[in-house]
């Protein structure tokens, strides 16, 4: 009761005492007009203020009178504006990059203290300038690989798609590109990510304390925002790398009002290799490409319209004999509308699709054509009400209509065609939320909210009924099939998802944060291989597959040192997961009508501590991170129904990333990673069946050994030419991945030697360590910018 009273008091307080006015507008980069996300706007006298939202918009309500506003953003010159508030005012502010003479080097007199002051915890942020300086495999700057260098984010190994956040599986991450979900974030399995660094503006990863406005996945939200495009001048960026060549063009459509960006990349190993291939292989295909584009228009009223899209594809082919390709497509349209100076609204509509196609067969007599898809349409309104500097309310909702096409398949054998397609699955996921960001006192801030999500698995197809499995961990027997009419619902689920975060400022440099979130996930990636393959399909929750749920609590200590030159944070988290998806032994997850009978629900738990020390200014920037963690699963039917470490469990993970600006021509970057080896399963014993050696594990334990520790160092040197032309700026990046040539194990497996033996004869066996990267990998690339 007391807290409600307090809440009401705060809600009304500022209105009650004096006349107030609102200043609103956008904060942008002075050079190219790109809006700045998370820039701070402060009233110098009182220290009360706000930060810009993802569209660069701010709204600040202050008492009437003269105010000095301090506008700042990491890497930009602070701007001070004196404003006489005698009415509501619109104020757009442009900030200039600091140290303009040294390209892309960040020197700031006084850093902001966002990490300490904001309520949000468990968030990994990397700006694109840092991502572009982190050494990378074959010199390809990579958003997802860079994120993996921060605590709490891991991968099973090189070449594996996706990433694991605080013990979550890869499908528990909601990867958003301009708000549209990207279902497969990798090119070439998992070697490169689909985001073109030339088109990316901002990357944030929420690992915990996930605000109520996000929903749909258990473990994390990777929010990737694309650049809007230079609204002042035309600009061409590009690069020639070892794998990709890139080109992007951006510029104003109408100066200061509308702009566009179009960015493309294509791999060209196949083009280079073609002349050296034998005649029989000339028809082979191996390439991947992506195209990212965006345009926006700013109305005089302050409203803004955006349209953005992504289209990417990976292609493999062996002449007419076999072909395989996959890719994502997304289109997002957004409209920002100001209902008043204090009420900012955004309406997003998107379409997203991931699909793959496979074909086999040289002649029409024997063919196998197969494709699968996950398509979705969504509408998502969101309103932010800036009540006063101490109180902000957000509310909104989302509806997603899914269409899963698990298999469209036609097989022809000896000229006889058979359609073996699986029925389309449709589902509707909806959510509504309300979120309140409240400064309870000057030292205590909170962001709490509630999300209600609902999922309906729709009719117009068969519903499958299963009985109890004969033994725990076996396939469930099918007991019935019923047709459910279109318009009816096969099964539905609803979940209340409370979210809360609190920040208690201990002093000006340090704070303590606490958070709790409950998350629910209604769609699941069916994947039982070590690394996910592009063939893995998504499935909705059905009458047989329950939604996954997770609860996470986190507590953290945040401290800035030496005038915010260093940021130190340490966090502890504990996460419980229910109804996570696992599979029976020997499951068939693709092209299987009865796949629901092969799914085993389980529970999971993940806990750990993450330590991060970042140096954000000076010639040397970078971070040291350490994670101590455990992630385990318990699935009836697996590992004798006992807890076992999940395949991506790493006890220790240590990371150093350093970027050193030697002078205005040379930048040296390096990173070093050390991680405990991931667990795997090896046989204890052997036997044979009809002359084939069979590996056997006496106690049936899953993940009964650990791979050797993983460690690796990479370096890269960026060289700017002596005298850069005013319009043409080029740079060379020379790098070495895995400098000291370590063969890190991706896995260890066992096999019998290749010889053929008669039943009864002895068979030789061996253990093999598989390293995806077996050597050091040098690279060189050239990047340019033309204005």
């Amino acid at each position: 009761m007391k807290s409600i009273y307090l809440f009401c008091l705060l809600f009304l307080s500022s209105q009650a005492f004096s006349q107030e006015y609102t200043i609103n507008g956008t904060i942008s980069d002075a050079e190219n007009g790109e809006s700045l996300i998370g820039a701070s706007v402060l009233d110098a006298a009182t220290g009360s203020g706000t930060t810009t939202n993802v569209y660069g918009y701010y709204s600040l309500t202050l008492p009437a009178g003269e105010h000095e506003l301090i506008v700042s953003y990491l890497g930009y010159t602070e701007s001070r504006v004196v404003i006489d508030l005698d009415e509501n005012k619109k104020l757009d502010i442009d900030l200039a990059v600091e140290g303009q003479q040294i390209e892309e080097i960040v020197v700031t007199a006084k850093q902001e203290d966002r990490a300490v002051k904001e309520v949000q915890m468990s968030v990994n942020r990397l700006d694109i300038k840092t991502i572009k300086r982190v050494p990378s495999l074959l010199g390809e700057q990579d958003v997802i690989k860079s994120i993996q260098l921060l605590p709490g984010v891991t991968t099973i190994g090189e070449g594996a798609a996706g990433f694991n956040v605080r013990g979550g599986s890869i499908d528990q991450n909601l990867v958003l590109l301009d708000e549209a979900p990207v279902y497969n974030s990798s090119h070439l399995f998992g070697f490169f990510s689909v985001f073109n660094p030339d088109a990316v503006k901002d990357v944030q990863l929420y690992k915990g304390g996930i605000p109520a406005r996000f929903g749909g996945r258990l473990s994390s939200i990777l929010d990737v925002r694309m650049k809007e495009g230079n609204v002042k001048d035309y600009e061409v960026n590009g690069g020639i790398g070892t794998i990709f060549s890139r080109l992007s063009v951006e510029g104003p459509i109408i100066k200061d009002k509308a702009s566009f960006i179009v960015a493309g990349r294509r791999s060209y190993i196949d083009l280079l290799a073609k002349p050296f291939l034998s005649e029989g292989l000339k028809k082979s295909v191996l390439n991947f490409y992506d195209l990212t584009a965006k345009a926006n228009y700013k109305f005089d009223s302050g409203d803004q319209f955006f349209v953005s899209g992504y289209f990417g594809r990976d292609n493999f082919g062996f002449g007419d004999a076999a072909g395989f390709n996959w890719g994502n497509q997304t289109i997002t349209t957004r409209y920002n509308h100001l209902f008043s100076e204090k009420i900012f609204a955004n309406f997003t509509a998107y379409y997203s699709n991931y699909d793959y196609k496979i074909n086999f067969g040289e002649t029409a007599q024997d063919v196998f054509d197969w494709s699968a898809k996950i398509k979705n349409f969504s509408f998502k309104p969101e309103v932010t009400y800036y009540i006063n500097p101490n109180n902000k309310v957000r509310f909104g909702g989302q509806s997603i209509l899914y269409e899963f096409q698990p298999a469209n398949a036609v097989a022809v054998t000896e000229g006889v065609e058979t359609d073996i397609s699986l029925d389309i699955q449709r589902a509707l996921e909806s959510g509504i939320f309300i979120e309140n960001e409240l400064n309870i006192t000057s030292a205590i801030k909170a962001n709490y909210g509630l999300r209600y999500s609902h999922f309906a698995y729709l009719g117009g197809r068969n519903k499958y009924l299963y009985g109890e499995a004969a033994e725990l961990g076996n396939e469930k027997p099918l007991t019935g099939v019923e047709y459910v009419e279109k318009g009816d619902v096969i099964s539905s689920y609803g979940n209340l998802e409370p979210r809360a975060g609190i920040n208690i400022e201990l002093d000006n440099q340090s704070s303590m944060k606490l958070s709790y979130n409950r998350t629910a996930q209604y769609i699941h990636l069916l994947s039982n291989t070590t690394a996910s393959t592009p063939l893995d399909i998504w499935t909705p929750s059905t009458n047989n597959i329950k939604p996954q749920k997770a609860d996470q609590v986190a507590v953290g200590y945040f401290r800035n040192l030496q005038d915010n030159e260093y940021e130190l944070s340490t966090e502890f988290y504990y996460k419980w997961m229910q109804d996570i998806v696992d599979y029976i032994d020997g499951s068939d997850l693709i092209l299987n009508e009865y796949v629901e009978g092969q799914i085993l629900p389980g529970e999971g738990r993940a806990y750990g501590t993450e330590l991060l020390l970042r140096k954000v200014e000076g010639r040397l920037t970078g971070w040291v991170g350490y994670t101590l963690s455990r992630t385990e699963r318990k699935v009836p039917g697996i590992n004798n129904n006992e807890w076992y470490p999940s395949r991506y469990d790493k006890t220790h993970e240590f990371n150093i990333t350093g970027i050193y600006d030697i002078n205005d021509r040379f930048t040296l970057s390096t990173n070093f990673i050390y991680a405990t080896g991931t667990p795997g399963t090896l046989p204890t014993s052997r036997y044979t069946q009809q002359g084939v050696l069979v590996p056997h594990n006496t106690d049936g334990r899953r993940n009964n050994f650990r791979l050797p520790a993983y460690h690796r160092m990479d370096v890269s040197l960026t060289i700017n030419p002596k005298k850069s032309n005013k319009r043409w700026k080029g740079e060379w990046v020379i790098g070495i991945y895995n400098v000291y040539n370590r063969r890190n194990a991706f896995t260890i497996y066992t096999k019998q030697y290749n010889e053929r033996v008669s039943p009864g004869e002895t068979i030789n066996s061996e253990a093999i360590r598989l390293s995806v990267v077996g050597n050091f990998i040098p690279s060189i690339s050239y990047n340019f910018k033309f204005k």
């Binding site: 039982n528 044979t688 050994f705 991706f746 390293s771």
Partner: protein, 288 residues
């Protein structure tokens, strides 16, 4: 078979930088367990049941045989004793153990324990023909002469077969040479049924070389295909055996480790290692 896609693609990738090294691993083996290797046919083609004990996975010496077992197979009306012929192998030479549709029971007494299993003799189609043709290998552009066998699956979902091939009298039994057929294809759960086996299965009777490609047939090479009917459980079992034995080929897309769960149990219901299967088979031989 179903991992063919990953294998094909990863093999290209792997050329980039990957590498494999043989290493020493401690298996942690402590407990020997009884194993049955009991894949027989209703006719006299396959009539050996082997009983022995598991050993350390990396121990390349012969298995310790069980020589004192009492092994009986019955078809409901007759009992056939399988006699020890040495090395843990037990045999019987009766021409016919049973006919299609019969349930054949195994009873084996080892020490004070009795193990039981049963197997139904399922239908198996005739092999229509074996042909030879030139094929271009899509992965390396080489031209190969390969054998292809034609047989038609019965109408009705759920027929499972195991094709064993012999090249010049050598049984092709590398793990990658196990040919498992679920109705027409290798895709269980797809309801793909009736008609000639799909082409990848028809070609799978060729010998696989160490590099993973098929061995091209020389003039005079003799190919024999023996098509065995097996139960759905036996299909799952052999699929697990094959997947686990060849899992390394899947590289980063390896399947989880799991023990193949057989059909032989002791009186307490505890599963023994290995499988008992009585197949009906049809055979055809062709010379290039």
């Amino acid at each position: 078979m179903r991992n063919l896609f990953y294998f094909l693609i990863f093999s290209i990738l792997f050329v980039l930088a990957g590498c494999e090294d043989a290493i020493d691993v401690d298996s942690g083996f402590t407990e020997e367990e009884l194993v049955f290797d009991a894949w027989i046919s209703n006719d006299a083609t396959h009539r050996t049941i082997s009983i022995y004990y598991t050993q350390d996975y990396y121990d390349n010496s012969p298995f310790k045989p069980e020589t004192e077992a009492l092994v009986e197979v019955s078809n409901g009306s007759e009992v056939f004793v399988f006699n020890h012929t040495g090395g843990g192998n037990y045999s019987n030479t009766t021409p016919i153990l049973g006919t299609e549709g019969d349930t054949i029971k195994l009873k084996a007494t080892v020490g004070d324990k009795t193990y039981r299993a049963h197997s139904v003799i399922h239908r198996v189609p005739e092999i229509d023909s074996i042909t030879f043709a030139e094929e271009e290998n899509p992965a390396n552009g080489d031209t190969e002469i390969l054998a292809e066998f034609f047989a038609k699956d019965f109408e009705g979902v759920g027929d499972t077969y195991w094709a064993r091939a012999y090249l010049n009298d050598t049984l092709l039994n590398k793990p990658s040479e196990i040919v498992l057929i679920y109705d027409v294809s290798f895709i269980k759960g797809s309801n793909y049924d009736g008609g000639y086996f799909i082409r990848p299965l028809r070609l799978a009777i060729n010998a696989v070389k160490d590099d993973g490609n098929f061995r091209s047939l020389e003039p005079g090479d003799e190919i024999t295909v023996e098509l065995n009917s097996i139960s759905n459980h036996a299909y799952d079992y052999l699929q697990t055996v094959q997947e686990q034995a060849t899992n390394g080929n899947n590289a980063i897309f390896a399947l989880p480790f799991n023990n193949a769960a057989g059909n032989i149990k002791d009186e307490g219901g505890k599963r023994a290692i290995g499988f008992f299967q009585v197949s009906k088979l049809n055979t055809m031989t062709a010379v290039r």
